[in-house]
Structures are given as structure tokens and as C-alpha cells.
């Protein structure tokens, strides 16, 4: 395949670069993973590189018997399972209407939505408005504001505009109205792109921490990532005081340390993403490319 010397040198450089990037991207995850599986006392000795030295599931046991974590998992799953389908249906209904050339004031409505991509009220007025809607400290704050997304609307609308016009022309002749055309004809044809935006929405639900952290005070409404922020903050202040000795002592007494707990919690929050997304890769690559064509 590689015939002359120049190409051989070039390919060596290419693969060296790729391997370097591979390590830089993958190894941090691996490092966290092995620390989470190592015993707390042994972790303090440091120099964990490739494998756990003293295998222990104590941190996971600690995490998975914590009622706060289970509550957080429950809230996170709930918001993902409720928020994602509702967002997909809201966005696809809008995209359908905006994809119709005959829509009265279509340009106005497009501008109405697109403008919000470039200008917004910012965090403080947003908080105040949520408060006047009684959404502060309310589970619905995780679902309702996220039902609309202009960028996804553009992706779906572009896809729908690419569908053959004859499809709904003939349905119209058969006496179908717009809602019937949407649900019976257009929606089934749009599934690939709906899967893409659904995947993105679900991942952003799973990953979101800010709304839970800022817009809720009730500990029962904290999402998994918000709980992880709390653990991270505790660690950050802990290391600030330079309380390594206290941490060491507590680790000797207990099977777990703040460090290993933090790693285990990180893994619990990461694993679902890592497990789900390779299967859905083809969808987001398709979605990204569609978006790229537009922008």
C-alpha cells in the first residue's frame, strides 16, 4: 500500500499523532475508572496508572447505598424520560408548519424564533421570570423551558423541506387535513432526524446541572450532575485547606476516601453516556452534517 519512503514517513507521523490523541482522550477516563476501583487506603500512595492495585468495590457500595444519589438518579431519569419526547414533538410540530411554503407570515415566525438564538435576556431576568411563573423549586423547571430549541427546529425543518412535495399534495386531495398529514405522513418519514435531536436532548438532560443547581433548593430535586458538583466543591475546598493528613486518617479508618467516592460518583454519572452513545453515533453524525449544511 505504502510504496515510497516519503509516504511511509508521512503515515508514521499520521499514526503517531492519532495514537497520541487517542491516549490523551481515552486515558483520563481510564485513570478515573481504575481509581474508583482501588481501595481508598492504597489510593493515597498514588502512582496508579494502568490497573487497580488493591481491587475494592467499597466506593461503589458507598455511593449506591446513598439515598441522595438514588433520589438524584430518579430525578435525572424522570426529566430525561418526560422532557425528551415532549421536546421532540413540540419541535417537530413547529418545524412542520414552518416547512410549509404557503404558511401565512412564515418569514415573520421564522425570524421570531431565530432571533432568540442571537439575543436573550440573560441569566438574571430569566431567573426572575421563572420565579414569577412559580417554576423555581419546581420539577417542571427541568422540562418546560427545554421543550423548544431553535437549532433543532432548523435541522428538522430542513429535513422536512427535502421531502417530496407530492406526498402531502396527494393526501390533501384525499381530504386529509394538516394535522393528519403531519402525524400520518410526515412524522414517520422524519424518524431519523427526530432520533438525532432526541438523542441530543436526552444527553443534555442527563448532563444538565445548572438548572438544578441554581433554580432548585429542595435537596429532593437535585439531579445527578448537581450532586456531583456538590461532591466536587467539597473536594475543592478540602484540598484548599491542605487537609491531606485528615483525609489520609479518615481513609485509614474507613474503606473509602473523598477521592475514591468522587471517582465512583463520576463513573456512575458517565457510564450510561458511554454505554449508550456508540450505538447512536450514526444518528448524531448525520444530524451534525445536516446542521453543517445549514450553517
Amino acid at each position: 500500500m505504502v510504496k515510497d519512503k516519503k509516504d511511509f514517513l508521512f503515515m508514521t507521523v499520521v499514526y503517531a499523532f492519532i495514537v497520541a490523541i487517542f491516549i490523551v482522550t481515552f486515558y483520563p477516563f481510564w485513570n478515573i475508572f481504575i481509581i474508583s476501583l482501588n481501595s481508598a487506603e492504597d489510593t493515597l500512595r498514588g502512582h496508579l496508572y494502568l490497573w487497580p492495585r488493591e481491587f475494592s468495590l467499597a466506593s461503589y457500595k458507598q455511593i449506591l447505598t446513598d439515598s441522595e444519589i438514588w433520589m438524584a438518579i430518579r430525578i435525572t431519569l424522570l426529566r430525561t424520560l418526560i422532557g425528551t419526547p415532549l421536546a421532540v414533538i413540540t419541535i417537530s410540530m413547529l418545524s412542520f408548519s414552518l416547512s410549509k411554503k404557503e404558511l401565512v407570515a412564515g418569514r415573520f415566525w421564522t425570524l421570531y424564533f431565530v432571533f432568540t438564538m442571537y439575543f436573550g435576556g440573560g441569566l438574571i431576568p430569566y431567573y426572575m421570570v421563572l420565579k414569577s411563573y412559580h417554576l423555581i423549586d419546581n420539577f417542571m423547571v427541568f422540562v418546560v423551558p427545554g421543550l423548544m430549541n431553535v437549532f433543532y427546529m432548523i435541522i428538522v425543518r430542513t429535513f422536512m423541506q427535502g421531502l417530496p412535495q407530492e406526498l402531502d399534495e396527494s393526501a390533501k386531495i384525499d381530504g386529509a387535513n394538516y394535522i393528519q398529514i403531519f402525524f400520518r405522513i410526515i412524522l414517520p418519514l422524519t424518524t431519523p432526524v427526530l432520533a438525532t435531536i432526541g438523542l441530543f436532548t436526552a444527553i443534555s438532560h442527563w448532563n444538565s446541572w445548572f438548572d438544578s443547581y441554581v433554580f432548585t433548593y429542595n435537596p429532593d430535586l437535585k439531579t445527578l450532575q448537581a450532586v456531583l458538583v456538590k461532591i466536587l466543591n467539597q473536594y475543592q475546598t478540602g484540598s484548599m485547606v491542605g487537609d491531606a493528613q485528615a483525609m489520609a486518617n479518615s481513609a485509614k479508618r474507613m474503606a473509602v476516601s473523598p477521592d475514591t467516592i468522587r471517582m465512583a460518583a463520576t463513573m456512575v454519572a458517565t457510564l450510561p453516556i458511554i454505554m449508550v452513545y456508540p450505538f447512536l453515533q450514526k444518528y448524531f453524525v448525520k444530524g451534525m452534517t445536516l446542521g453543517a449544511v445549514k450553517s
Partner: protein, 327 residues
Amino acid sequence: MNMQPKAQPQGSGTLAVKRNRGGLLDRLKEQRLLYVLMLPAIILTLMFSYVPMFGLYMAFINYQPGGGTFFEQFFTTDFVGLQWFEYFFTNGDFVRIMRNTLAQSFLSLLFGFPMPIILALMINEMRNGWFKRTFQTVSYMPHFISWVIAANIIITMLSSGGVINNILTGLHIIDEPIQFMQKGPLFWWIIALSNAWKDMGFNAIMYLAAISAINPELYEVAKVDGASRLKQMLHITLPSIKPTIIILAILAVGGILNAGFDQQYLLQNNTVMQYSEVIDTYTYKYGLQNGMFSYGAAVGLFKSVVAFILVISVNQMAKKMEEQSLF
């Protein structure tokens, strides 16, 4: 600005439009179901995007927590004009915040912009097979984890007993572990490299899509002429994706004030605050944590307006340069 594709006819011309030529009311009546389908999105956007924009009026009054409901106070509290903006520009924070925001954005671009291009060029040179597929899967991975997880990972890797310090001391490059997270000026570089780490694989997808659109005959001709793979990359692949590069570069400049929130908020600590604080974290700190609501809103409004002007002018620039709109 409008996001409609250029191909779309303006006004009449198509069959659909002609058939609906009646009066406006007739057409609206015929289309009422289209409006029904749009209604949820229209209301949601009004509630969560436009009402907060009107809420920006709070930047010109002295909003008091506990002094009546939010919208009531628009009429009951004193109008203070540009007082909050004056305060922002004169209290000394402005220069520091803008310095941090621009420095972090600029450094992030320095690493984050070329890396996906190089990565896409390299991936394109790889032979197809399981390693290429695995590599691409792994390269997107950091994009799909939250900044909370990323911050946990980064702080662990950079801690005094972390892998980076172990390697550096092991190679005798340094004698004592460096407290990376506690050195102010280093924070900018950490943010820039973290951004590049998290998004380079994902951002490479755009360039790979552009590369896949290149006519394969170009490479065939080059091969016949005896061009090496390096030459093919530099003289065919790279020039072919130049339009994509230019468009994304212009877009990136438009977003220069969006240095981020998550990464700074989650990676910072009190020792590096002088270097870590950017507009968005500052707004949050003063507006919500310290209860200076109107001040926070004013700083946010300043940012929104400048960012908006930047994006619009950058779009004009792009139009002139490429005859290709961003919208």
C-alpha cells in the same frame, strides 16, 4: 437576518401559494391547523425568551428582593438610568473581567480552532478499519460528558498526586509537583486546553463532512502525477475545505464573548479567582449569589448587546468574503 434557504421563492410563484390566493382571512382559516401545531412553540418562546428580554428593564431600576413581585417593581421602584452600567465600567472589575474573558476565548481559539482541522486531516489519511472506527468513537466521547465530569477528570489529572505531575517528576523535568489548579495565570491555559480536549473530536466531524464531499478524481489525477500523500493533503484536501474553515473561523470570532460558564465555574477556586472570572460567572456571582439583581442584569445586558453586534457584523463580513451567509 433570516435562516431561510436562498432557494426558497420569495412570495408567490409556487403552486401552493397560487392555490391559496384568496383573502388573508380565508388563507388563515384554511391554515388554522398549521397555527395550532406552531402554538406550543410560539407560547414557549414568548414565555422563556421574549418575556426575559422585557425583564431586562430591571437593569435600569433598583430591583429589591422582597419589594413586590418582579413585574410590579417595574412601576414601583425608582428609575436609575445607566447607573448600574456606570458602576460596572468604573469599579475596576470591568477591565479584569474583560481581560479574562478575551484571554480565555483567544487561547481557546488558538488551540481549539486548528486542532479539529488537523485531526480531520489525519483521520482522513487513516486506513479504513476497526482502528479508525474505534478512534473516532473515542474522539467524540469527551464532547458528550458534562463539564461536571470533565472538571472532575481534569482536576484529578492535574492534582499534586495526579498523573501529569507523576510523569513530570518521573522524567525529572520538575522536582516538586506543580499545583496547577492554584496558579492564576495557568488557569487561562487550562481552560483553553480543556476546551480543545473536550470538543476537538466532535468539531472534526464538520471538516470530515467537508472532506468527504471532495471529488475523488482530484486525488486520482494527483496520484498519476506522482504526488505524495503529504502533497495531496496540502494541495487538494486543505484547499478544498478552506471555505468551511473560513466560515467556522468567522463564526468563532462572533462568539468571542461566550468564553463559557460551566468550565470556569467548575474548575475555579478562590486562589485563581483573579484570572478565572469571566462575564458569565461574574453575572451569576453578583446577580444571584450576592443579591445585586439589577447590577447582574445590567452586566448581562451589556454582554448580550455587544455579542449581538459582533455576530451581526461578523455575518456581514462573511457575506462579503464568501457570498455565503451564516444565517
